[in-house]
Amino acid sequence: MKQQRREVFVFADRCMGCHSCELACATAHTAAGNLYGAILGGETGYGRIFIDLTPTGSRVPVHCHHCANAPCVAACPMDAMRQREDRTSYLDEENCIGCWSCVAECPFGYLQNSDFLPIKCDRNCLDDEGVPACVRACPTHALVYMTTAEYSAARRRPRAKAAAR
């Protein structure tokens, strides 16, 4: 069966650490939906993707993997961390008590907290072509939105080339 579902994948070696993904994500989650409007409207917001610095100095985007058997969803005692049928997980802020169980359980350390609640990618940021704001904003294509098959092919290609040499 042909895979249709696309995921956010990372080519870490392409990340310049420009934080454009963070800003684009935060902007997409404002009421205005665009940066000029958000600033003029005095809105604030959080990016739901983070650039982390590794001990060797390289930059890595840390993002939600929307896991199939999502530990964050399983860990939530309030049924606030939920999962849609398409396996996208999201936080229902109304029911969240800010206990950080999800933060503790995320195997990637992705989940962080704002002052009150966890910040969680919810994919409520897709543009006309269904591409997430963070991916759209990435100037170097360190972030890509692909099916797993496409991503693995892209990863495989350089190795295959080297092996054939």
């Binding site: 454009s20 958000a38 600033i39």
Partner: protein
């Protein structure tokens, strides 16, 4: 036939964009798409690279870093960024002026035989304004003194900058002195900006903005000097009739586009081309057809009626016709991409100045001392290139509009004198008072790839003309308007409100034109925004008020260059509301944004109106005009009198 496309309102451009797609030639619009979305930090002015601890970014949405590593606030970031743009714009205009001053100096010394003082009357008028004795003196002696003052204006002087001190209203000079906003020297202020915006210097946003205004007045001085010396060397423009848009290219001629800014190059190319028509014919061409692109095109349009081919963002499109044999450039607004397009389309790209070289171009060092010879060399290369193209098919979009241009302040005063020889400004003032002219708007600046080309200018202008606003235009703003028929007198009836129509007819008929002036008045290139300042200053002096009281507004509806930032800032500093149709990279600094769009009004009377939607911009411009009409006790449409 005339169908606009997503990137431009100009059908000629749209045809060429289609051709570029077919041929796989990359254009400015392709590169723009590849650049999207643009970085939000840069867009809002919140990225600082002024030291090696950076780059620093401040989060405009408030949850990331709030200060740079050095502790600079968002307002300091954006004020420093704005200041550096002003300094760069000032360096550009004044560099252009210095180039002219050096040329005039060579003429005065008899070292540049291909140039001459074409307008001795203007030389004398400028000299008198500067306090140079003219009685019984030879033109060259006077020119030498004018050059000495011009070149001295760049350095720090106790007396300040002559081209600023003598060109504004007395009140404005006094007021700007009180604000510490009069420049000490043009280069001095550029240098001052670079110093104070460097690591760990000025951290007060207001202090930074005042320095920016001071530098911007230096920009005005440089621009004014540029206009003055251009007029002295090449003649003060008088009305000319020509045509504009790519339809002015001729398949059977050696088509040479002059592109860039300084008439030091383009005027000589035009003159020498006339002398070389036979040589072109001998090569099988119908002649040499010089056309203009961007502001140097405006310079030779204003003085020689040379037809403009296209402007600003669509400069690559002139080559896409396949009919352009050479593009000869000096500096400013010449996209490096033209070298690639030239290679694809067989155009010869010639760079001429040491400071503006482009890989892929042929460089011919153009020297004032050997200008005629250098121009002949360049044109011979163009003819040679034509012989390679001769007989091959070309795609010249068959669009062109009639253009009546050439309105220097001198020409405007001369035209008005036909109505009142004693007091030429009186008819203009009477009509403003009576409401036949609601106000005056200057369109200036560029075409920005972020806006469907010309849409900002055309939409706003259409509305303003209907509302009886007298429109003057410079630079590629003028270019946009002329390519859409806004400079053809035949369109006055369709475009203008009744009051304005009557005025344009009255002036036209008094001058024996047998019809009206064109709907919009072309006053020149981007340095020639100084002509607008001169006109506004003359009006203010005649009324006994300062410029900040006049119902005059400027609009850079599609601004691109740093030069547009410095022009906008000097216009605000002398007291004018200035509309900008693209976002200035200051939005990330809330205090600076508030100052520029509001508080600065208390200081100078001018302010920025940032409005990206043309319809709304037109309303805001009209509101700014009406506010000033009320301030003068004049009627406003709708009878809402103060």
């Amino acid at each position: 036939m005339t169908k606009p496309c997503a990137v431009s309102l100009d059908p000629a451009v749209c045809e060429m964009v289609e051709k570029a797609k077919r041929l796989g030639v990359e254009t400015v619009w392709d590169r723009y798409q590849a650049m999207l979305p643009q970085c939000g930090f840069g867009d809002t002015g919140l990225c600082c690279r002024h030291c090696l601890q950076g780059p620093c970014r401040i989060d405009p949405l408030g949850n990331g870093p709030k200060l740079g590593i050095c502790g600079a606030t968002a307002d300091v970031f954006v004020a420093r960024g704005l200041d550096r743009a002003i300094a760069a714009g000032t360096a550009s205009h004044s560099g252009h002026a210095r180039h002219l001053a050096h040329t005039l100096k060579l003429v005065a010394e008899g070292k540049a035989p291909d140039y001459s003082i074409k307008d001795p009357a203007k030389l004398r008028a400028v000299a008198q304004r500067l306090g140079v004795a003219t009685e019984g003196r030879d033109d060259r002696e006077i020119a030498r003194d004018v050059c000495r003052i011009a070149l001295a204006d760049f350095a720090e002087q106790e007396t300040g900058v002559a081209w600023a001190n003598t060109t504004l209203t007395k009140k404005r000079v006094e007021h700007l002195n009180e604000l510490n906003a009069m420049p000490k020297g043009i280069d001095y202020e550029i240098s001052d900006i670079m110093h104070r915006t460097s690591y760990g210097v000025d951290a007060d946003p207001v202090s930074l903005l005042v320095a920016g205004m001071r530098c911007a007045i230096g920009d005005l001085a440089g621009s004014y000097m540029g206009t003055d010396i251009s007029d002295i060397l090449f003649g003060t423009p008088v009305p000319v009739v020509t045509e504009a848009n790519m339809g002015v290219l001729k398949a059977d001629a050696v088509n040479v586009a002059v592109h860039g800014h300084n008439p030091v190059l383009s005027d000589i190319i035009v003159t020498v081309a006339q002398e070389m028509q036979d040589e072109a014919r001998a090569a099988g061409a119908s002649g040499i057809n010089v056309v203009g692109i961007c502001c140097t095109g405006n310079e030779v349009l204003m003085r020689h009626g040379i037809p403009p081919c296209t402007h600003s963002v669509s400069q690559e499109m002139a080559m896409l016709t396949g009919a352009l044999d050479a593009m000869v450039v000096d500096y400013q607004c010449v996209m490096p991409s033209v070298a690639t397009v030239a290679e694809c389309m067989g155009t010869l790209l010639v760079t001429t100045t040491d400071m503006a070289k482009i890989p892929g171009a042929t460089h011919v060092a153009f020297k004032e001392e050997t200008a005629g010879e250098d121009a002949r060399k360049i044109l011979r290369m163009a003819i040679e290139n034509f012989t390679k193209r001769k007989g091959k098919p070309v795609d010249i979009p068959q669009y062109k509009e009639k253009v009546v241009a050439g309105f220097s302040v001198e020409a405007i005063i001369a035209a008005l004198s036909k109505l009142d020889a004693e007091d030429p400004l009186k008819p203009l003032i009477d009509n403003i008072v009576a409401g036949n002219i609601r106000g005056v708007v200057l369109f200036a600046g560029c075409n920005n790839v972020k806006i469907q080309q010309d849409k900002g200018f055309v939409t706003i202008c259409r509305r303003l003309l209907k509302e009886n606003v007298l429109v003057i235009a410079t630079g590629c703003g003028a270019g946009a308007l002329m390519r859409h028929g806004f400079m053809d007198p035949a369109n006055v009836d369709e475009l203008c409100g009744d009051g304005l129509k009557a005025v344009l007819y009255a002036i036209g008929e008094a001058n024996g034109l047998g019809g009206p002036l064109p709907p919009t008045i072309h006053i020149g290139s981007c340095v020639d925004n100084s002509r607008a300042v001169r006109l506004a200053t003359a009006l203010a002096d005649r009324l006994g008020v300062d410029v900040d009281k006049l119902p005059v507004v400027a609009s850079a509806a599609e601004a691109v260059a740093e030069k547009a930032v410095s022009i906008g800032t000097y216009a605000v500093t002398i007291g004018l509301p200035v509309h900008v149709g693209v976002m200035l990279p200051v939005l990330g600094g809330p205090t600076v944004t508030k100052v520029l769009t509001d508080k600065v009004k208390d200081l100078t009377g001018g302010y920025f109106i940032v409005e990206l939607e043309p319809d709304k911009a037109a309303e805001k411009i009209l509101a700014a005009i009406d506010e000033r009409r009320k301030g003068l006790g004049l009627s406003v449409p709708g009878g809402d009198q103060a």
